[in-house]
Amino acid sequence: MRLARHLPVTTLAAAIAISGHAQAQTEITVATVNNNDMVIMQSLTDAFEEAHPDITLDWVVLEENVLRQRMTTDIATGGGQFDVMTIGTYEVPIWAERGWLSPLDNLPDDYNEGDLLASVRDGLSLDGTLHALPFYAESSMMYYRKDLFENAGIEMSEQPTWEEVREWAGELHGSEDGLAGICLRGKPGWGENMAFLTTLVNTYGGRWFDEEWNPELNSEEWVSAIQFYVDLLNDYGPPGASSNGFNENLALFSRGNCAMWVDATSAAGKLFDENESDVADSLGFAPAPIAETPKGSHWLWSWALAIPASSEKQEAALEFITWATSEEYIELVGETQGWTSVPPGTRESTYANEQYTEAAPFADFVLNAIKETDPNDSTLKPNPYVGVQTVNIPEFQSIGTQVGQTIAAALTGDTTVEQALDNAQRATERTMQRAGYIER
């Protein structure tokens, strides 16, 4: 009986004993993804802690979608589990508008805010106030194999067009064993195939919505762009293209299985690294191809560090994010990890650094591509939204993924392009009606 009487107390004590929870000085929790640049940032934790002895860093690394869902739950419920969050250009203005992010209007003088690239800075601001600091930024461009082009006697244009790309893909497809003329994203998702396809539609003169927020997914521009994409990939793409995202295409291209690939500029460093890529010697770069208009033909994305309004360690968090996005940090990465590993696309000073431009011959392409994008004016006809490859409204994640799935179905031949886009149009109309953008 004695045992029975003491059981609850014993069990409670045991529970407390095995759940020890230590806390030291000011510990800030940084939520991030497992991209190479973030892995480097983690490896430099000691350098930060040495320079800031009163702050320690605690890392939470999660899969991108899980991270986004965790952060949303945490901010919406005021959980206060994170002090620094890694988010993208898409979320920053939306979350800032809801008051979820702390405005960064008190940056220290030595941060040199004016050095940030204007388009990247604008993408992370709400009403002119930064709500996140850019960690690295990317646009899109074309990679191609110079050796194949030379052998076939093809000369790359200064600004290639999609029609030229189709011709070249036709010539090069199958010229080597297992060689695809072109690799493009096919895996459905708002951040996967739709990121690329939106830029393709943009350059074909299309847009997601007219000025009254009516979807235009079955417009002539969308149909011609998507038909072109489906034909191009089916004729000259790699087998199973509908399941290829950024990572799969990166692997294909770096193994020499693609003659051309249009994707994120952030792949340049990896493709140029001889340890990771078989095509480092023959790698060529060109701007993303265009069709009717150069507007919106390449995207803008940045991974940025933000402080949730629910964090109770605002000062320490600000110390960290200003350090991780500073010129000093970029220098530190260059010196310790090699200059090709420097987080690109955030600061003018990075591109003024000769050590970087010498080590990374793709630097100018990346800089120009980022500078040329304007998220506020990304389509030929006027549109009501902000974003190049995204529409920065909360509903876009689900709309983008749904449309991505219908287009993937057209790519695999399950539906025709017209049917797919009609379905996408109807689904998007319903979502926009429910969300109150347009009347029922």
């Binding site: 059981l7 407390i16 497992n34 739950t73 589990q81």
Partner: protein
């Protein structure tokens, strides 16, 4: 049953013996095939952990030059030990509490049933049918308010509750198969209920309790939804560790496989070591 009947039929005639042999061979082949199919993903994962990132995503092949670079990268990046200790604490802690609650519960249901016992059992099981995400926000809010977010205690509570229906059900089945006369004999000798449970019931149903405990440990060890949502770093177990190796930009399959192999290794070894007891426990009472 098949084995028993074939054994007895064996001496009767040569053709009978041959057909029994053939039957046994077929069963063996079938058993091995099922086992191989089940084990194949684990085998492939272990293999991928020893490939380079580019080889991992290349066309599937069994011939490649193995490398430890993924294991080195995984080791270099994050504290495996911290995650592993959390997994051990949470899996064994929740199993301990689940058994602690479930044993008296199953005892009452097996030996002192009422007309609502069956209904209660079914109702308990029905709680498993609710998708976890349905209760995520309420649980998250409660945990936030009582300060249990990112604590092992919080995870132990959730896992205990999560596994309780299964543990009660399994124990109930084992207890029900135990002859009541033994307990009655103990009672005649003046044993209290607690003594009856501790000195008669538990020793006699130990294989069943052990296999139930092992199953609970395995379920808690592998659980990912709650651990990803309720922990950040202090209490994050190995499932959160694995999830951290996925990358939106960059190749990660080899590293993910290496991390997964390291994460399942302890539980795989434990399962291997205790497989006899587990099988004995799971078939406990099946043949009388």
């Amino acid at each position: 049953m098949t084995t028993l009947s074939s054994k007895t039929a064996a001496p009767r005639s040569a053709s009978g013996w041959r057909s029994a042999q053939a039957k046994r061979a077929m069963i063996t082949v079938l058993g091995w095939s099922v086992a191989l199919v089940i084990f194949f993903p684990i085998f492939w994962m272990i293999l991928t952990g020893f490939k380079t990132e580019t080889a991992a995503i290349a066309d599937p092949t069994l011939i490649f030059s193995p490398t430890l670079e993924s294991y080195q990268a995984v080791q270099a990046r994050s504290g495996y030990t911290r995650f592993a200790l959390n997994s051990v604490a949470v899996a064994f802690g929740s199993t301990f509490f689940a058994l602690l609650i479930a044993i008296p519960c199953a005892y009452a249901m097996a030996f002192l049933p009422t007309k609502r016992t069956k209904g209660t059992l079914l109702w308990m099981l029905s709680t498993k049918m609710l998708p976890s995400v349905g209760v995520l926000v309420p649980i998250y809010l409660i945990f936030r308010d009582v300060g249990l977010l990112d604590t092992r205690t919080g995870l132990i509570i959730v896992y205990t509750l999560m596994n309780l229906p299964i543990v009660v059900w399994m124990l109930y089945t084992f207890f029900k198969d135990m002859p009541k006369d033994i307990l009655e004999a103990g009672r005649m000798d003046g044993a209290s209920t607690l003594q009856e449970v501790c000195f008669l019931l538990l020793p006699l149903t130990l294989p069943g309790i052990a296999s139930t405990g092992l199953l609970s440990v395995i379920l808690s060890w592998n659980e990912a939804f709650w651990s990803l949502n309720l922990t950040t770093s202090s209490a994050a177990p190995l499932t959160a560790y694995i999830a951290s190796f996925s990358s939106p930009e960059g190749l990660f399959w080899a590293k993910l496989s290496a991390a997964s192999t390291m994460a399942i290794a302890p539980i795989l070894i434990l399962g291997w070591m205790t497989q006899k007891q587990m099988v004995r426990g799971l078939t406990f009472g099946a043949v009388k």
